[in-house]
């Protein structure tokens, strides 16, 4: 951190000062160039996902903590090198057809209001809202962490789409000053994109073993302009995941409500808990 970032005379409660609309929701950010944020070495954003909204996979240059302020849904994290342990059941083989290959992917987790999600540096994650209530998730990126070997500016690397990177504006502001005109021009020219879009199409064609039409999609070329970082999944997302369990607290409450059973003994009726354990 530069000197004088923590020479703060007065603190104010801050509200987000930027909002990026997407097809399935929006992302609000607080300016990480503000002195208190620079002093703490963090960047803050808040993401709202409507029903059936999928936040596209991304990773950041520092560890993240995400707090679920509202709603419930599912999320996945991709740890490089870890096995794909969630498997789709094999489709029954029909006559004359080869069996459909199973889909395999890494673990999927449920989340609900009050959950804190820990995302290590560089680990890609995605999130999906499968309920009617919008999901509101507040996330912090610790750019001051030893895990971040870049500068203090938060950076989000999207794997897909051609949306604006939510901290790009602030990055350009910081570079601004005498270059403000150039910065504005750059801002207009550079709408941001995903990391695959920067590679030559021939590279991706060879790396994925797919045709150029698919490569164009990987690079976000066939995108509608307003889809952004959060897309809507028409008809809902179907993934292999176990049904959500009732939260522990609710289970405990249910236990309390249970009426003890009456057990006949030589001393009369004695109450005994319904749940006897070995």
């Amino acid at each position: 951190p530069q000197q004088n970032e923590c020479q703060i005379q007065k603190l104010n409660a801050l509200k987000p000062d930027n909002r990026i609309e997407s097809e399935g929701g929006f992302i609000e950010t607080w300016n990480p160039n503000n002195k208190p944020f620079q002093c703490a070495g963090v960047a803050l954003s808040r993401c709202t996902l409507n029903r059936n909204a999928l936040r596209r996979p991304s990773y950041t240059n520092g560890p993240q903590e995400i707090y679920i302020q509202q709603g419930k849904g599912i999320f996945g994290m991709i740890y490089p090198g870890c096995p794909s342990t969630f498997e789709e059941p094999q489709q029954p083989q029909q006559r004359g057809q080869s069996s459909r290959p199973q889909d395999r992917h890494q673990k999927i987790y449920n989340f609900r209001e009050g959950d804190l999600i820990a995302v290590p540096t560089g680990v890609a994650w995605w999130m999906y809202n499968n309920e009617d209530t919008p999901v509101v998730a507040v996330s912090i990126i610790d750019t001051n962490s030893l895990e971040n070997q870049l500068d203090q500016m938060p950076r989000r690397f999207y794997l897909a789409g051609n949306q604006e990177q939510e901290f790009l504006k602030y990055q350009q502001q910081q570079q601004g000053g005498s270059q403000s005109q150039k910065g504005k021009q750059q801002e207009e020219e550079n709408e941001g994109s995903n990391i695959l879009s920067g590679f030559a199409p021939e590279f991706l064609k060879e790396a994925f073993g797919v045709n150029m039409q698919i490569v164009r999609n990987l690079q976000g070329e066939n995108e509608e302009e307003d889809s952004g970082a959060i897309v809507t999944v028409k008809g809902g997302l179907r993934v292999t995941a176990p049904a959500m369990r009732k939260p522990q607290q609710e289970e405990d409450d249910d236990d309390e409500e249970e009426q003890p059973q009456c057990v006949e003994t030589d001393k009369g009726c004695q109450r005994q808990s319904k749940r006897s354990r070995n």
Partner: protein, 185 residues
């Protein structure tokens, strides 16, 4: 007791061409790494290194290092290298030749394709246990995503999403395509 530990610590490990590679494909090349797990002195330095050798027209798939900067020094031959930043901008697109150095910041995506018979490099990494995330091929990030997430993330059909996941069976190094192999022969 530091004389039995620090003073006698092993301070040399060979990762060059004749060492035992960690990743090997006779048609594509090999990669050998030294981290603090197999070379404990690196724990003190918080550094590590990777030696790589790529056969002609073989490719190191697009990937990124999660927790380290990479300083790539070309030892032999030449390769076409592309580096992409968080805004999807190609910040390097050129040949890396013998004696040249390329610094790839943490989390920036990089891919390389060998232009010569044998491109050799050493990549110094600023973390003693670097983690690499591949963006394509077996065990890659996209390979580990649910098919429907890929489908809706990239606006693809189900069959296309399956191809993105499964078409490349190689995990790090992709051998040259058949036509390129024939041309070399």
């Amino acid at each position: 007791g530091i004389d039995e530990t620090i003073c006698t610590m092993r301070l040399r490990q060979n990762i060059g061409q004749n060492s035992s590679p960690d990743i090997y494909n006779p048609q594509a090349g090999s990669i050998t790494t030294a981290t603090s797990l197999d070379f404990p002195a690196l724990w003190l330095l918080k550094l590590s290194a990777q030696y790589g050798s790529l056969r002609k027209n073989a490719m190191f798939v697009p990937h990124y290092t999660l927790n380290a900067n990479s300083i790539i020094y070309a030892l032999n031959g030449r390769a076409l290298v592309q580096v992409v930043n968080c805004n999807g901008e190609r910040v390097f697109d050129g040949e890396l030749q013998e004696g040249g150095v390329l610094i790839v910041p943490q989390n920036f995506a990089v891919a390389a394709k060998s232009q010569s018979d044998n491109f050799e490099y050493v990549s110094f990494k600023t973390n003693d246990r670097p983690s690499i995330g591949n963006l394509a091929g077996a065990n890659s990030l996209l390979n580990a995503l649910p098919e429907e997430v890929i489908q809706h993330t990239f606006n693809l059909k189900s069959q296309q999403a399956r191809q993105v996941k499964n078409n490349n069976p190689f995990s790090f190094l992709v051998p040259p395509q058949e036509s390129q192999r024939r041309a070399v022969a």
